[in-house]
Point group: D2
Chain length 460, copies 4
């Protein structure tokens, strides 16, 4: 890298999963908008052709006059090629294919288990973890051997276990897991300010929150805007909107959008537990006991959130593939939109250009009380030059910590089970997931079927 006081050139980024559409294009967009950084992005993907297309798309973009962040994109055939010399490693992959995800998400429905997302916890999240952990163990070894000093930013789910695996295999790794779910809650609080206090256009970054929990099951116990404590306002806001939910300015009603909700789960958790749950309702519901928000389709409809059908993901993938071809051959022009993700801000902070305080997934070294050391937790951290220091976020009250710990320990069990290829151990976690509210023999039957469906991606 070359430093000047205010910009840095010749940065090298390795992008693992560089053939992806959504995330890779988002990165290109954000890089294009940032004029203080430049360098090379090496795109690695098991689908080399997809990576090549993305390289082509990225390089076309860099040539445009309206683009201030100039980067060179290069598809590489091996992960080693991507890693050697890299300053940053970004990982965003699909573990397995949508065929496996179809089984993860929908097979449990035969046993009365509905999963709005199915990639984090629940039977779907667990089976996904079993095939993802070996892949990430491999990444960790490669990073240890070829880019031990690089900062690694992970976007893949299950976020907690991906990040946890990297540290388990290579404890000195400098890795974080990044997720935008908390941002969504900050935006909700901004909307609340408009509704309750007529303060409009609040930037979600000015909503200061203390975050604690695990990815997709994070909680906020302090929130303020300027000098204002947001908790009393939120209580009023929840009371107003508890029954009907709040849809805000989102264009699509929750019933028409595969990712939307009316925030009713969040409101109910606030009423029952007193803190602000800081993830989308679709995620939150998956962490709670099965008969709270996911008992049956009628219950789900009452709570007003959508289930994301994998068939939709497949269709969407096909649309994006077609779009990719159009972008490559220039039939369509790349539309630059800031993603709202903080990856680029993090990179700038790690390069020393600015200080950043934001939430991040890292092994617990005391930032969260009453959670085991080394389990990956999500709290705020200060990013500075080559340094990420979590803040002492405190601890959750025991009744919420209890809900969190159940998943933390299931995840620790799943990690060890996957690394030791011990399916009996994996089943112990599976049977203890709150959504797997089944007698043991039925739980075992479901587990075996799901495992069979993902076996192409399990080590032998």
């Amino acid at each position: 890298m070359n430093h000047s006081k205010t910009e840095i050139n010749n940065i090298q980024i390795a992008y693992i999963g560089g053939g992806s559409r959504g995330w890779a294009w988002g990165l290109m967009s954000d890089l294009a908008l940032e004029n203080k950084l430049s360098g090379t992005v090496k795109l690695y993907d098991i689908d080399y052709r997809a990576a090549s297309k993305n390289a082509e798309i990225g390089n076309r973009l860099s040539k445009r006059e309206d683009v201030s962040g100039k980067w060179n994109y290069e598809a590489v055939e091996t992960i080693e090629d991507a890693l050697i010399g890299s300053d940053f490693v970004i990982i965003s992959i699909l573990p397995g294919t949508f065929t496996e995800m179809e089984s993860d998400v929908h097979l449990p429905e035969e046993y009365g288990i509905f999963q709005p997302v199915g990639d984090t916890v629940g039977p779907g999240g667990m089976i996904r973890a079993l095939r993802t952990i070996p892949i990430y163990a491999g990444f960790a070894e490669k990073i240890r051997d070829f880019a031990p000093d690089a900062w690694v930013i992970n976007y893949t789910n299950p976020m907690t276990l991906c990040t946890r695996t990297l540290y388990e295999v290579f404890p000195e790794i400098k890795a974080i897991g990044c997720c935008h779910e908390v941002f969504g809650t900050q935006k909700l609080l901004a909307s609340m300010l408009e509704e309750v206090k007529w303060i409009s256009n609040v930037n979600r970054r000015d909503i200061k929150v203390n975050v604690l929990g695990i990815n997709h099951f994070t909680w906020i116990d302090q929130a303020s805007y300027q000098g204002i404590d947001l908790f009393p306002l939120y209580r009023e806001f929840v009371d107003r909107n508890y029954e009907e939910g709040f849809e805000g300015s989102e264009k699509n009603h929750w019933m028409n959008n595969h990712f939307a909700s009316a925030q009713r789960v969040k409101f109910d958790l606030f009423r029952k537990f007193g803190l602000i749950a800081a993830a989308g309702d679709r995620h939150l519901a998956e962490f709670m006991p099965n008969n709270w928000y996911l008992k049956d389709l009628q219950t789900i409809q009452n709570w007003k959130f959508s289930l994301t059908d994998v068939s939709w993901r497949i269709q969407n993938q096909q649309k994006l593939a077609a779009q990719s071809d159009r972008l490559v051959n220039g039939k369509e022009s790349f539309e630059i939109n800031p993603t709202g993700e903080e990856g680029i801000d993090m990179i700038k902070a790690l390069l020393g250009l600015e200080e950043l305080v934001t939430n991040v997934n890292m092994p617990n070294h005391g930032q969260m009380g009453n959670i085991p050391t080394n389990s990956v937790v999500e709290t705020n951290a200060i990013f500075g030059r080559d340094s990420i220091k979590p803040v002492l976020a405190g601890e959750l009250p025991p009744e919420i910590n209890n809900l969190v710990m159940r998943h933390v320990l299931n995840q620790e069990t799943t990690l060890q089970a996957a690394l030791q290829q011990d399916n009996e151990m994996a089943f112990r976690a599976f049977a203890n997931d709150p959504l797997v509210n089944l007698p043991p023999h039925q739980a075992k039957e479901l587990f075996n079927k799901m495992l069979e469906n993902t076996k192409a991606y399990l080590p032998v």
Copy 2:
């Protein structure tokens, strides 16, 4: 106290709940058999008449020539009278009456929740805790003020929360919770030695075990007899008896005995988790998810353990009351039987007469890994003169620790809820109990009814 090298006189014991039949008579029996100790037992009970009768019974016993342990029994009208000057405090009370216990145990059946015991966890255990904690907070204050240096031995359930409350209110207290459930498992292992290795008449004290967990949900991860590792033998034993269960030399078949089981739950837990669960099946089943062993009456019958109906307890109480009168007026002679409890051994060890290693409930100061500091855990400890030092028992594997932690944190929540009289907080624990497998609104309905039934014993 007066010490000589081998015996100690003028010991003073305060017995809170001194009007009880079962426990008080057991203590009298054990004291009568022990010739190294003598002194005074002050019996305190909210039912003074019952205490008086017990004093009479005890003093009659002490006069008998066949009794070597000579004690003076005295009923006292206030707890202060009992405590002042005491070297040891024994607590064994019924929190509330069997009317409240009837509600604890049987009301949840209307919601499909069956509880074999209902005094530890589950809806019954929790509601019982809510009325017991304030009583124990009172005891702790009295002990702090009138007998701060005495050793306190608790036998009341919920054991964990009774002991926990004593320490929460008076952190310098020297208190332990004692329970014989682990002894039963040692006896089972002794029976196993006979069945599998033809080694007979093994004293359960010679079965060396490492104990870790919480009361009634303890686990053994090392067990030996002389130089023999008992784990391979237990595996063989479980395989032989898994389907039919093991009833051993117990006189009564499990179906005819209100406290018996065929050990099938214990065997199943061993198969599923690899460690030896060390409590009676009736207790163990209450700690697991509702649909494992308690789904319905048919399931319970398949697992071959009994439900202890409170109506049986009421009848038994009446029989004992009648017996008490006969003992007082000399129509019946007190039958001296060693109880198998270790209270007297503990007292002797605490007086410095012998060293004792046994399992005990105490606040966690590191004896169990991955359990919060100060939560009450059950592990081995060394008893010596005025000293109980827990041993470092290690930690449970994460998948079992997960099952334990759920209760540990529910208990911490229940403790705080009871002390702060916060029913909303109490409900958060209630709704998270594994047996309370209900949608939140049903859980709330059950909670409110049960609370109403116990309100005579709640602080106002």
Copy 3:
């Protein structure tokens, strides 16, 4: 308090030690320069007249047209009057008088012990602590009873033990200890940038450092400016200046200034330990073994730092008293100079007006590894609305941690000794101080003499 989006009025500050000249005048100066805040400062002092004069000085100042921060100053006769209704409490007192300090600093010289400051550790710091801890225990009780929700900012030395005492007596207190020594090291690094890299006019706040240690014995293990790692530069800087020392742009040579040094101790510690010690050399030398930097006057001269004679402090006090009178009667005009302290920035951050990351003294809840829980440590923290969250600063290497721990445990011993009025316990800490390099009987003799000299301020 009244909030608007960008300014806050009606703030109430209690100033304990409000008759002081240096610190109180500094606060007035900083408040006068800050236009977003206004309210009342209640000045409490055991010398009520001095507080009254300061009130007069402050109110005169507020009336001036060139002053944008308008505050009302009020001298009060009791600490309760100051505390009731306060949002912030500032404490800056002289524990005892300069007569006691004379003994603290200079009596040990008879035993060959030289102390450049004598208010933190060493025999002087310890005896000062013994008379300060009871005073602070009293403050803590008053704050608990009259201003439990106020934020408390302490400036008095011994900083660590003052802050530690507040938390020991009132654990829920919201208190911090503030010190500018780290700022001085940041300024040194800024000077270094000019010398080594020709980068001038760097604001010390843009020198980002990770701070860990205890007050006046803090260490920096990461330092950067923009994207530049300052450690290699510091090594070069130390090599250049090791022999002669570095005096920078300070107006006075170290020999002519009672607070100055040539940084040679700091440079030597860097060479020997590899990290940047972040306090003035006069302080640092007091934490190290006696024969390192303070063996005798010749050694001290070689290391080029000054000893602050208490007679100078007495003279200075007299000069300030005279100046106070001139300010009160208008013969002299108050000169407004920013102090460079961060108290006002902290207040603004705690009011939610801005986010601040800076170093602060707080009880250790994990921000520093391998230091006991609750011992007061100095690390960075994020200040936000009604919230200070320390960052996880990591841990010192064992060889430096060893030097720090010796003082941490001496301080814990001193705290308990002072609270329990146990002089034998206090002596154990005294005899173990690195400067008290004496045979025990001589140490005891010195201890007794010093204690005698301060007995007017010890509880009886």
Copy 4:
């Protein structure tokens, strides 16, 4: 191994340092007296001839009719030969030769530093550690590869760092460090019972003590015999004997015996700190600041303990070598004397034949509070079949913990310095040793000379 209910045959012991006289002969003696065990001892030594002679001596002994413990002794040429198949590994070596030890102990005298033993801490102990740690790192690797399940019993000094190194290199090792110094204190307490209470012939094993600290610097905070608290008696005993010291029934006056003392250091520490220091005075003095007990020869004489001159060790070695030859060729008959060591008791306990509670050196996993995890501490532990569980010994008061921590952290630094071959880091520990009360440049000079003298045993 073959088990029967009460005896175990075919045990295999690997003895590393099997050519030693003192320790190996002691083991032979103890094994000869124990009729429940038999098997093979494989003697490995870098001096194969010495091991062979010992094998011959041992086999001669086993053939004697008066010997009930029959063992086969075999000298082996490689450590692998000794380890493969072993159930127990005993290590007792001299790291380097007496030439190096001569430098360790006596060179510092040129700088005014006197060391009574010089093998644990102080300049001698540290330099000895630097050459011992690499040797033990090698042992750990061999044990990991060839006898990972064996129990390892170490007798070599520096005990703490030998044991610590084994765990650092092979964390799953089952190793302990054993030392008889606490036994000596128990014997002193037994003598005290005779003097103060006319209770004679008390077995030191019946003196129950709670032990906490590090090897050779252990403390007792609870001591009892039967029901008697020994602390008030000890205070009386110290008062009686403080001035003159106590020599008890030891045959030799301290001035005539290279290992004796009059216990004055122990008595003084009790007066100053309130707990019973539980090691010989010669060891204890080395852990305290230089000017407490080792200031000069006069001071040492006043405290009445001996300095063990290395020239005596050399002479003694020669005498033992001659005796070895006589034993081999039958000119002298092996005299069987129980050593008083507990190695054989430990082995029996680990085989499951009996339960044993005694003090032992193991990594801290919570048995001692306020000492870093994994640092090797000495506390009581329960030995059972294939299991050693430390007891929760509690924590030392901060003022004593401070004295201990200084050495703990010096040892951690020394360990890392030795493993990383970083002499600068080693010097940081050296300069911070309480006996090295020198200006840094003199400390460095001494360090360099001592290092030079041991360089034949340092890795290159």
